[in-house]
């Protein structure tokens, strides 16, 4: 152990020796006052190239057509991509839209967001309330619920795919109860249901943790006062716990919405890329498909869809930041 630490130290010394001389040379030229710019440079260059430049490109591309990557080779088409995405006889019927897959994806995403947010919030809240009690093995349970949060979406998709397989454990269990086996992931209703189940399973531990932190910040003497006043448990919940947890609940709600809109990985693996049919095709998958899958290469259309999605996320994030500030103060 000590030897490993010694080696690590020697490694760090080596790295320092490598960088120190050139950086100190810069310091001699520029003076100490300009050094922070040098320290910021790698970060800002990377942000510039991989975050700010792409935003500019996304907006630029959204107004161009064609399949060429070079923006100079792309014809300007004005609002055509947006018009294509947003032209619909009835927005409720994806089939009546020019880009019917886009609207299918939007509706799928909206349904998913609705059910996923409600289910995750409820499960996480109940779990947090229970874990906030002085219950034995609290740490164990907290860790248990949290474990899936760390797993990879691909692994989770595969594990659940196997669990829900025609020859899987769930069907074996149902057979014991006398229910005929079902190919869950090939049924539109069941597959949508299980995408939500898997998503709740995957992420609820994270939100439980945030809510638990909020619950533990509620002053204990409030409950003691309530006990002296002989308040009923439900009154304590609705008059003390939930109002004081309110800001945290709102932050969790918005965070959940932001992340649910971006559903892709686990649903992609679980449903073989959005199936059955387009039942689980979500908006990120639509963007991915337009730009990268097959030979469509509709970068303009994909960018326009990205811009629209970015605007929605921007609004949600601004709301979240507002709420976050309120929670802190």
């Amino acid at each position: 152990m000590a030897r490993a630490a010694g080696l690590a130290d020697r490694g760090l010394d080596l790295v320092m020796a490598l960088f120190e001389a050139p950086i100190n040379a810069v310091e001699r030229v520029t003076g100490k006052a300009r050094m922070p710019y040098l320290f910021l440079a790698p970060n800002l260059v990377l942000f510039g190239i991989f975050t700010f430049l792409p935003i500019a490109i996304a907006i630029g591309y959204a107004f161009t057509g064609g399949a060429d990557l070079l923006i100079s080779n792309r014809p300007f088409v004005g609002l055509d991509n947006f018009r294509k995405l947003l032209t619909c006889d009835s927005y409720l019927v994806p089939g009546s839209c020019e880009e019917s897959l886009f609207w299918t994806a939007i509706w799928n995403t909206l349904w998913f967001v609705g059910f996923n947010v409600a289910a995750t919030l409820l499960v996480a809240l109940v779990t947090a309330l229970i874990l906030n009690r002085a219950i034995a093995a609290r740490g164990f349970f907290r860790a248990m619920f949290f474990y899936p949060v760390l797993l990879s979406p691909v692994v989770i998709g595969l594990i659940w795919k196997w669990f829900l397989d025609r020859n899987g454990l769930l069907n074996a269990f149902l057979q014991m109860l006398g229910v005929p086996p079902e190919i869950f992931l090939l049924d539109v209703g069941w597959s949508r249901f299980f995408v939500v189940v898997v998503s709740v399973w995957f992420h609820m531990g994270f939100y439980t943790l945030i809510l638990l932190a909020g619950l533990q910040a509620i002053p204990k003497d409030l409950y003691e006062a309530a006990a002296i006043d002989a308040a009923t448990p439900s009154r304590t919940l609705f008059r003390i716990t939930l109002p004081l947890l309110g800001p945290n609940l709102l932050v969790v709600l918005i965070l959940l919405m932001i992340r649910s809109v971006q559903i892709f990985d686990e649903a992609w693996v679980l449903t073989n890329g959005g199936g059955p049919g387009t039942a689980n095709t979500f908006i990120v998958q639509y963007i991915y498909q337009m730009a990268f899958a097959g030979d469509l290469r509709l970068y303009g259309l994909a960018s326009a869809a990205s811009v629209l999605m970015g605007l929605v996320l921007l609004v949600l994030t601004l709301v979240q930041l507002r709420l976050g500030k309120k929670v802190e103060s």
Binding site: L40, W162, L237, Y288
Partner: protein, 352 residues
């Protein structure tokens, strides 16, 4: 639900030992049910990954991995399968020579004589507990698994190292200096929190094409290195380091880089550790971005490789599950050893 809350704070304190309330029972049911819901699919996949190919899709499934027993019988070229056969009222293990309709020709494996004809409805295969280690060893040699693993380890390690250095440098500048535009730069960096990869993936890919890093592991690594969460976390921590230490070092004529490397960085170790844990988990589990950037098999990371596996070999669940399980092990180990730091890190910073 409301009943559970009665316990918050006061109830538990006034509870006498040995008294169990209905809310306790409900809570325990919820917790145990939840634990089972987490564990059962994972453990089920783990158990299945040990089953031989022929057994894995058996329905209804067995819990433990078992396989039909094959025996070498004198006078037959190929090994024969062993069955339990009831002959003259006693159960014997016999090897099946052939099967025609409802009749099967069986021989005694130890004493092969003329085959006996028995009714197939009265026989059942002999099975033994068999762990199919080949599910784990085959893909190592046959499906580039080691290449995927090597790529994932490389991406995770290099990206984490760069993430720590690049963001620590930026955090140092933003916490220990006052300079023109410091606030604006901080706000600019934090504002990128608002732009998830999913929104910029198309143009980010075009940038990757532009800089020539398509289908290259560096194309997976570099865009993830500058992290607003990382800058924020490290800056907040560095703000707690007393400026007097830095002043003292300047008096001793230390260069700014030396101050950063020798004083600030070691003192930021706890925050660096939290960021390192998260970076490892993010990069190890990344899927969409590597899926976009990488196109040839020898460059796939584990997650992209696994996804490709299941597309191509969708019937070979014995391999898929074994690979899935192997890729799960590092994360599980990280979790087992660092669980406390991970959960407090999340509760403190709200990052995942």
């Amino acid at each position: 639900m409301s009943a559970n809350v009665s316990a918050i704070g006061f109830f538990t304190r006034t509870r006498r030992a040995g008294r169990i309330d209905i809310t306790d029972i409900l809570s325990w049911l919820w917790l145990i049910g939840g634990t089972l819901a987490v564990l059962v699919p994972v453990l089920w996949a783990g158990m299945s990954s040990l089953k031989p190919e022929a057994e894995i899709t058996r329905f209804p499934p067995t819990l433990l991995p078992r396989a039909a027993v094959q025996v070498e019988v004198q006078g037959f070229d190929k090994p024969l399968s062993l069955w339990n056969v009831t002959v003259d009222g006693e159960v014997r293990e016999m090897a099946m020579v052939r099967r025609i309709g409802l009749k099967a020709q069986m021989v005694d494996p130890d004493n092969p004589g003329d085959p006996v004809s028995v009714d197939t409805r009265s026989i059942s295969p002999v099975q033994r507990l068999t762990v199919a280690t080949e599910n784990y060893t085959d893909p190592l040699t046959r499906f580039n698994f080691l290449t995927f693993l090597k790529n994932s380890v490389f991406v995770t390690f290099v990206a984490t190292l760069l993430t720590l250095i690049v963001n620590a440098l930026a955090a140092f500048a933003l916490s220990k200096y006052r300079f023109r535009g410091d606030k604006a730069i901080f706000v600019l960096i934090i504002s990128t929190l608002m732009i998830p990869l999913t929104v910029v993936m198309v143009p980010a890919y075009l940038v990757i094409v532009g800089v020539g890093l398509v289908d290259n592991l560096w194309g997976v690594i570099i865009p993830t290195v500058a992290s607003p969460t990382g800058v924020f976390l490290l800056r907040q921590y560095m703000l707690t380091i007393p400026d007097e230490l830095i002043e003292a070092a300047r008096v001793d004529a230390a260069s700014e880089f030396r101050i950063f490397w020798r004083i600030v960085l070691p003192l930021t170790a706890p925050a660096l550790a939290v960021l390192a844990i998260f970076s490892v988990l993010w990069r190890w589990n990344d899927f969409l971005w590597p899926l976009i950037v990488l196109s040839s098999r020898e460059n796939f990371t584990l997650q992209v490789g696994l996804n490709a596996f299941q597309g191509e070999f969708s019937v070979q669940w014995h391999y898929i599950l074994a690979m899935t399980f192997l890729s799960l092990i590092p994360v599980t180990l990280v979790f087992l050893f660092l669980q406390r730091y991970i959960t407090t890190g999340i509760a403190g910073t709200g990052m995942k």
